[in-house]
Amino acid sequence: MTAARRVLVATGLPLALLGLWWLASADSQSFYLPPLRDILAAFADTWLGGRLADDVLPSVIRLLAGLAVAGVAGVGLGVLIGSSRRLRATCEPVLEFLRAIPPPVLVPIFILVAGIGTTMKVLVIVSGCLWPILLNTVEGVRARDELLEDTCRAYGIRGLARLRHLVLPSASPQIVTGMRQALAIGIILMVISEMFAASSGLGFTIIQFQRGFAIPEMWSGILLLGLLGVALSLAFRVFERRALSWYHGLRRAQRGPS
């Protein structure tokens, strides 16, 4: 398949759908479903002005901060818990319960504790993103290859070196899976924490549009949110491919003729 053909296939359906949307809504009188033309115009007006910096950027920074905290805590605790069978057995029921609490439910709790400012939003994100990372890390640490373990013992590789060269790398595929789930949850929580009760941020702005019946603007906000989700997902995919290049190579080698 030539490159041109590949591009055509990849963009064919999306472009067709977009075109359909444009045409179908061109003469729309519906209040709730304005013409795509208007939405795109509103998009340019609303966001490409100062709002990207004022509202969107802080939201994304909060998201990344929350993910970072959840990542460090999740991996740290995960390594600790995953390395000790007794600790795992003790903590497992508690962790399973805490992770089953739908994260949005904690928003009111955090509002109670931390008000409606930045702290609350970051806390909400951390509280939701911690679990996938933590639990996946525990899994990854637990499922270490015994032979690599023996190799380390035989060559006297202990402590910090062992953590750095055996435990973390061998758990990294699982940890990255956890991070991917955390990213998805983080985006949702970022938006929810701003929609529920907040004074700034992307989610808050969209809800304001909705309440003020600024429909094209609201749609443009939804569009932006969608683009943000896609952009972050792509960025993560790039990161994953680099960080786990050895893993993908290994799987490919195992699958194909050795």
Binding site: V105, F196, L232
Partner: protein, 248 residues
């Protein structure tokens, strides 16, 4: 179990001792009392029922759509290639982006909840089913072809059994996501259900009741998760992959 008990004891002591302000985190006993109160209120059970209703209907729709579309797209290579980019683009769009739209279109109706639940859960099922169809053993397919099995028979005897474990995984993930979205819709949009009760409790300052409802939400999550896993085991008990696992 000891861990759980220890955790509960810790939560009981911490606020009493002053480690955590009681205003923010009431002792476990107070929460338990509030929980008992809630269980006596008929409004609680109505709310629980509303949540479960949205969850169940949304999940059913998502599974039906995800499996049907997944099998269709997965079995026709041209379709799969054409839709790949669209799926990859739509999938990461956070379902919460649809909240304003849902509010406008359906208000606090059940349908707004369903919009969110179905949208989020559908992708979980679809992606898994697509993986499953892709995993079909080409040798098995060739065998079916050579025995002149029609398209439907091929799906039934080759594609579906291979896809089933993936579909079950998708179901399990979708069940969890559906619950999260149902409660989210109630929390933010105000659709009737547990989420709405929690929001109400928070705004009216009934802190122990709020925590009690959060506990219920958590327990619901645990039950859904366990139930999905149990169903998975039952359905796949006949499947060679789980049979092998059990024997190992």
């Amino acid at each position: 179990m000891a861990g759980l008990a220890g955790f509960l004891v810790l939560l009981e002591i911490a606020p009493r001792v002053g480690l955590v302000p009681e205003r923010y985190l009431p002792p476990t006993s107070r929460i338990a009392a509030a929980l008992a109160d809630e269980l006596g209120e008929p409004s609680f059970w109505v709310a629980l029922g509303d949540t479960l209703e949205g969850w169940a209907i949304g999940l059913a729709l998502a599974v039906a759509g995800g499996v049907g579309l997944g099998l269709l797209i997965g079995s026709v290579p041209a379709l799969r290639a054409a839709t790949a980019s669209t799926i990859e683009f739509l999938r990461p769009i956070p379902s919460v982006a649809l909240i304003p739209l849902a509010v406008l279109l359906f208000g606090t109706d059940l349908r707004s909840k369903l919009l969110l639940v179905v949208y989020a859960s559908f992708w979980q099922v679809l992606v898994q089913v697509l993986h499953g169809v892709q995993d079909v053993d080409p040798v098995a397919m060739d065998t079916a072809h050579s025995y002149r099995l029609g398209r439907f028979a091929r799906v039934r005897h080759v594609v579906w059994p291979t896809t089933l474990p993936y579909a079950m995984t998708g179901f399990r993930l979708a069940a969890a996501v559906a619950l999260v979205l149902a409660i989210t819709a109630e929390l933010i949009i105000g659709s009737p259900g547990l989420g709405k009760e929690i929001a109400v409790a928070q705004t009216s300052g009934a802190v122990p009741a709020m925590y009690a409802l959060v506990v219920v939400a958590g327990l619901l999550g645990v039950v859904v998760n366990l139930g999905a896993r149990a169903l998975e085991r039952r359905v796949l008990a006949w499947h060679p992959s789980t049979r092998r696992e059990v024997a190992a």
